[in-house]
């Protein structure tokens, strides 16, 4: 199996059985936005806009580099944006304009 074949057929989250470090028993209190992000995931599921499996698929589709470098909820929110684009619920331009508006409100 070539290296690139492995990239294509092994998802970045498919890590069961791989070598890994000693466990660091870490936890953190969720930041407010992270909790809102989790609530958003649940509400999108209840409203049948994005189901749990679609979310997982969306996170996987970010690819190994982003999965490795983004934190848990950072991955979720980027995945949601991508899925909402694909479902034509939002457009990238719409989101970019709204983000600029949000940023302009900040101190």
């Amino acid at each position: 199996m070539t290296d690139t074949e492995n990239l294509v057929t092994r998802l970045p989250n498919d890590i069961g059985g791989l070598p890994a470090d000693r466990i660091e028993i870490v936890d953190h209190e969720l930041e407010a936005w992270e909790k809102r992000c989790h609530a958003l995931a649940d509400v999108l599921d209840f409203q049948k806009i994005i189901n749990t499996e679609e979310k997982r698929c969306g996170v996987e589709a970010l690819g190994a580099e982003m999965v490795g470098k983004l934190s848990y909820y950072e991955r979720w929110i980027v995945a949601f944006a991508n899925i909402l684009f694909r479902k034509q619920i939002l457009t990238p331009t719409e989101l970019a304009l709204k983000m600029a508006e949000v940023e302009a409100r900040c101190p």
Binding site: I15, D21, I23, E24, D42, D45, G68, L90, K98, C106
Partner: protein, 215 residues
């Protein structure tokens, strides 16, 4: 100060996040997505607020009460082992999603350990949100190939004559471990028993113990 944790192997410094600082990129992204969906009337702002309350109300204390009840009531224990979700609902713990719950009991012969290698499946309605270590690579990668070493890193040594059984939740089923009732608790009231049941005992990385005993 809080830190977000990244799921990769090499260590690096995370910038400290100060209270009331300018929101980060991802917080702004979350805000923008949410506001657009509300503007388009696909979700309501109240639904998010309500779901945050739902999430805040789900803590390991709920699971602890289920375990304590199972320890004192053999008929309830039997119902819990037959259908975890129905038994939880019987105790007033609603499941807000479509998942089912299987409760696996630790015995003198079997020690159970729960993991989700592919993501972070966890019995959230009855335990709340999982700890970071459960979602990070070392636990997810090694629980299914070296469970005894993983348990040892939590200070839990299982004798060789006890089977270690690892459950990888990949589908709609979620798992909860029913830990063994500690010796010396025969006269404990149900509330006292519940106080012995921590989140980690219901994931299976630690046995339930009387406070202050050697780990």
């Amino acid at each position: 100060m809080s830190q977000t944790l990244h799921d990769h192997d090499h260590a690096h410094d995370h910038p400290a996040i100060e209270q009331a600082a300018r929101p980060g990129y991802y917080e702004m992204l979350e805000t923008a997505v949410r506001e657009l969906l509300v503007e388009k009337k696909l979700i309501a702002a109240d639904e998010i607020r309500r779901q945050i309350e739902v999430l805040d109300s789900r803590t390991p204390a709920l699971g602890a009460r289920i375990v304590a009840r199972a320890w004192v009531d053999p008929d309830f224990r039997a119902r819990l082992l037959a259908d975890g979700r129905a038994a939880c609902e019987e105790c007033g713990i609603s499941f807000y999603d479509d998942t089912s719950l299987i409760v696996v009991e630790n015995t003198d012969k079997i020690h159970n350990l729960i993991v989700c290698t592919l993501c972070s499946c966890y019995p959230r309605p009855v335990l709340g949100l999982p700890p970071d270590w459960y979602k990070l690579k070392p636990y997810r990668a090694r629980a299914v190939s070296d469970p005894r070493a993983v348990l040892a890193e939590f200070g839990t040594i299982i004798p060789d004559n006890i089977e270690v059984r690892v459950h990888d939740s990949t589908a709609m089923v979620r798992y909860l471990v029913l830990p063994k009732r500690p010796e010396g608790t025969e006269n404990y009231a149900e509330e006292q028993l519940a106080a012995l049941v921590t989140r980690d005992t219901m994931i299976g990385v630690a046995p339930a113990q009387i406070q202050g005993s050697a780990s």
